[in-house]
Point group: D2
Chain length 144, copies 4
């Protein structure tokens, strides 16, 4: 089901930095790895992510899940236009410590019109999952 990747790691970083500066690659997020139907994205911790109790906010974890899924899809389909999130379901499991988060993404469907993937979110260096998301992107018309 998967195809050769459309980008190398350097290429996808350069592409996203250019077309999607709001992701703030290198400051807010970092793409750690891309692979077949998968990606690993880091949320770089900063004080804006905090909520009462010294933990990381839900919207920060949502943003990580959203970016990580987008990166995994883009790595497969290449620069073919703007995929948009249509649905995201997220379960918050544990309160993450105030440090970087890792989003491990796996695509479970890559169709012509819809891509579906799941994202497991961990505190960097800790094996306990802190949140889990499943999301759908609508992908623009392509030639396959």
């Amino acid at each position: 089901m998967s195809q050769p990747l459309a980008f190398t790691l350097d290429e996808i970083r350069a592409y996203l930095a250019e077309v999607f500066p709001q992701i703030a690659l290198g400051r807010a997020f970092e793409i750690e790895a891309i692979g077949p139907m998968s990606a690993r994205v880091r949320l770089i911790f900063g004080p804006t992510h905090l909520r009462p109790g010294g933990t990381i906010s839900g919207p920060s974890m949502f943003a990580l899940a959203d970016v990580a899924l987008y990166v995994a899809i883009l790595a497969q389909i290449g620069p073919v236009g703007l995929a948009v999130t249509t649905n995201m379901n997220i379960n918050f499991l544990r309160k993450p410590a105030p440090r970087d988060l890792m989003g491990e993404t796996r695509l479970i469907k890559l169709g012509k019109r819809l891509a579906v993937g799941e994202v497991a979110i961990y505190s960097a260096g800790d094996p306990e999952m802190v949140a889990h998301a499943t999301g759908t992107y609508s992908i623009p018309a392509r030639g396959d």
Copy 2:
């Protein structure tokens, strides 16, 4: 099922500004109204909300849904400790224009341990719904 509100509008604004400064009431969000099992919260548009295409990002809408639900729950149960989001499911329906968003919340369950509500998100002044969320908060032990 609903009970008298635990706060007036002024009281809940003052309370949240004190215990939850990260919400940035008056700058990022504004509580427009609270009512029985309901609340209306405004996301104050700013350039950090933008994504490519001149629309508002998914994480911004998620954050609005999360805050709006929290406000509706707090208005019912009062300052009894920290309720935390356990699940949020959000559907993105249309690309919102770059202006304020309104989150109209309705609680559909307020139990001892879990509260469930839905949030309809609109662009300010436009009747078309741009996103819809359903979320669950875990609420701390109370005396009822």
Copy 3:
């Protein structure tokens, strides 16, 4: 956003009975009403719906939500091919008594490729919501 209905109530009952006999209209479900972007469908209670404690099973409520959404979509778009569920999120709020359930559906998006709607489920004759679902159907290519 809504258009004139594609069916009368009698027509949609006859159409569904013919093309989708598994729904068992008149025995398992009944279409009570269709309207602009909306439908009301009844689950006819029977012993197969029970689970321990004398309440109605989750899968029975899921099935009602799925059928009710399908009916609301079909009422708008007509007999244009097979729409399929791509996502359903359901919250179970209270244990329903062992009697008929009503699924009140409202479409919140009817696009060319995706339709999104919500379903509020009640015990017949009781105003307390027992479950709430939000679902997406993928709709086949049409001429608009």
Copy 4:
């Protein structure tokens, strides 16, 4: 995070057959395996599962996800009372062929009050996932 299993495979089959006859173990479902924070449950295909096009209905897949999660939780916590589903989110990825389905469950949180797990659903003998669910059960008060 996981603890020793509360049942052997034979014990959990016998227990469920007794307290939850509606699952129809051996006729509608079969428990194939239980393990630490995991379970594998089979949906035994029958004509009631069909929908137009010769595929298996969404409610049938929902029921499999619901039972599989329940089995995985019960295997961990033992016969301590009735856990109930509070939320289920399911994505339908491909149309399954008309044969048995396998639900592979993994618990990602087993707290005192809530358990969260995911279920990957496959056609028996086919490695392509046909549906994916994430669900939450509320678990009754226990002595831990």
